[in-house]
């Protein structure tokens, strides 16, 4: 293992994050606060409790997931797309590193940034609603695994993308709808039965359900199913990336 290379990539990427720390943190804090004002206070006050939890508190896990998933994908996809775009990727390809080290550096940094933002949003939430976390260890496990798996997905998108438009395409057309329809702002049990069935094909449902269980002990799907779903998703991402580097798809002629 070329650990020095992994560390170099990781710190280089984190430096980019800290250079723009204000923008990086202000925007998620601001948008979360807006969600709390609109959904929690204005609309939420007219909504009865969901599964025995006030609506304002109920949406906290979903809100964190929404930001963490979006941030993971955009950080990781930009992280690898940018060197491709400006041509500095030649250096990665000619360096004595293997695919695992490159992924560890880029995905590790993207996941760390997303984790930071997730924690900031959680802290912000404490100012608006009363939350107790029933299973803090599991909460961390779900949060970290989500950061990693969606950063892997972002990395794949970044390698696939041939333009900035394509870079936005997958998050916009697939991920945002999946997250919004994944029960970020409602319980799956609130949907008509037919839509409940459809929802079970949405992988994000398992993540949000598991994460919400870690907070409140209530879930749409069994906790082990959630865990398997996210573990499977992570492994799938790793497998795709392994294939990309083996074949040189989109990066090496």
């Amino acid at each position: 293992m070329n650990w020095i290379a992994v560390k170099s990539i990781y710190t280089f990427e984190m430096a980019r994050f800290f250079r723009t720390i204000t923008q990086s943190l202000i925007s998620p804090v601001l948008s979360t606060s807006l969600y709390f004002v609109v959904f929690g206070a204005a609309i939420g006050s007219r909504i009865q409790q969901v599964e025995g939890i006030s609506y304002g508190a109920f949406i906290v896990p979903g809100l964190i997931m929404l930001s963490v998933i979006t941030q993971s994908i955009s950080n990781a996809s930009f992280g690898i797309y940018f060197p491709k775009f400006i041509g500095t990727v030649f250096e990665l390809l000619s360096a004595p590193v293997n695919f695992f080290e490159i992924v560890l550096g880029y995905v590790g940094a993207a996941a760390t940034k997303a984790l930071f933002i997730g924690i900031i949003i959680l802290i912000t939430a404490f100012f608006f609603v009363d939350i107790t976390i029933l299973h803090p260890v599991w909460m961390v496990v779900f949060l970290v695994l989500t950061c990693i798996s969606f950063s892997l997905m972002g990395f794949i998108i970044g390698i696939w993308a041939g333009s900035f438009e394509q870079l936005q395409l997958v998050p916009l057309l697939i991920v945002t709808p999946l997250v919004f329809l994944g029960g970020s702002f409602y319980s799956i049990s609130m949907l008509p039965p037919a839509w409940q069935v459809v929802s079970h094909f949405n992988p994000v449902v398992y993540l949000i359900s598991g994460f919400r269980w870690a907070f409140f002990g209530a879930a749409d799907v069994p906790i082990m199913t959630s865990l398997f779903a996210i573990a499977g998703f992570t492994l799938l991402g790793l497998a795709v990336i392994w294939w990309i580097f083996r074949t040189g798809w989109r990066i090496r002629q």
Binding site: G87, F90, E91, S94, A95, P96, V97, Q253
Partner: protein, 309 residues
């Protein structure tokens, strides 16, 4: 001198079927400067990219310092530095951090003294805290070289280091290359400026359409293929060559004011003495005499023509 790079039967065909390298064999000696000369699209960049791991070879092998660049890529690549043709740099990074990043990426532990030495050598130390986007084009090229040298490679590939660079900067670059050679770095550079190869290379390889046409010591190449011209200026222009002077190697200039005699410097007899006596016997009066050494450019053009024929 021991061999540091050994290229064996290297082939590269792109997905579209285009064959960029058609079986290249080349051995590069430690400490030399080899210039790869060829027109655009000859395969120079493909050759370098394949050695450095940016493109994968279709067939054949490359060993650097005895390490295969595919099987033993970590050891092989650690010895190589690459300066690409395009200025590929992150605009918002500081000079020093991008150079330090390159060192780390190649697995070398942090060493501020080594980085400082490289930046000073390239006159970049004053600019170390500047963002890349604030630098001039010439400075950016220096940053690319600094990045390539950051892990102290033994072999440096320079892909068209002076393409689109003004004359002063080009001479500057040649100075840098000479300095690196003095430090024991083996340098392979591609260029389509013949003047450049002539000025700094020890050996010259000529590449066209994916094939290495020849590799030879620069001086030997110049001597072997070098022809000289003797230009005899006449006091009065003439309409045609006198019959007594008619020969394949003698021509009259367009304005009729000069005789141009082409001869081989390495031939047993150059025929100059005979020519001059023939000229005076023909009643022509000489105004001036000069000789011209044919340049590498002429040699190059001849070779490419032969290859095409």
């Amino acid at each position: 001198m021991p061999d540091i790079v050994k290229i064996t039967n290297l082939r590269k065909a792109y997905a579209g079927g285009f064959e960029a390298l058609k079986g290249v064999n080349l051995t590069i000696e430690q400490g030399e400067i080899l210039a790869l000369l060829g027109p655009n699209g000859a395969g120079k960049t493909t050759l370098i990219s394949t050695i450095c791991g940016i493109t994968t070879a279709t067939d054949g092998s490359v060993a650097v310092g005895g390490h295969d660049t595919v099987k033993d890529y970590r050891k092989a690549r650690s010895m190589i530095g690459l300066v690409p043709q395009e200025i590929n740099l992150e605009p918002f990074e500081k000079v020093i951090s991008t150079v330090a990043f390159s060192r780390g990426l190649f697995g070398k532990p942090k060493n501020d003294a080594a980085i400082e030495k490289i930046l000073r050598q390239l006159s970049l130390w004053d600019k170390k805290d500047n963002q890349i986007r604030e630098l001039s084009g010439g400075m950016k090229r220096r940053v690319l070289i600094a990045k390539a040298l950051a892990h102290e490679p033994r072999v440096l590939f320079l892909d068209e280091p002076t393409a689109g660079v003004d004359v002063e900067l080009r001479r500057d670059m040649w100075g840098i290359v000479a300095g690196l050679k003095a430090d024991g770095v083996t340098i392979i550079l591609t260029t389509h400026y013949i003047e450049e190869a002539e000025a700094i290379a020890d050996r010259i390889g000529i590449i066209a359409e994916g094939e290495l046409l020849l590799v030879e010591d620069k001086d030997k190449l110049m001597a072997r293929m070098g022809k000289k011209q003797l230009v005899v200026q006449l006091t009065k222009p003439i309409d045609a060559l006198p019959v007594s002077l008619a020969s394949d190697s003698l021509a009259l200039s367009d304005d009729g004011a000069a005789l141009i005699y082409t001869y081989d410097t390495r031939a047993e007899r150059t025929g100059i003495t005979k020519l001059l006596s023939d000229v005076s016997n023909a009643g022509l009066v000489l105004a001036d005499i000069e000789t011209k050494q044919s340049s590498l450019e002429d040699i190059f053009v001849d070779l490419i023509k032969e290859g095409a024929a």
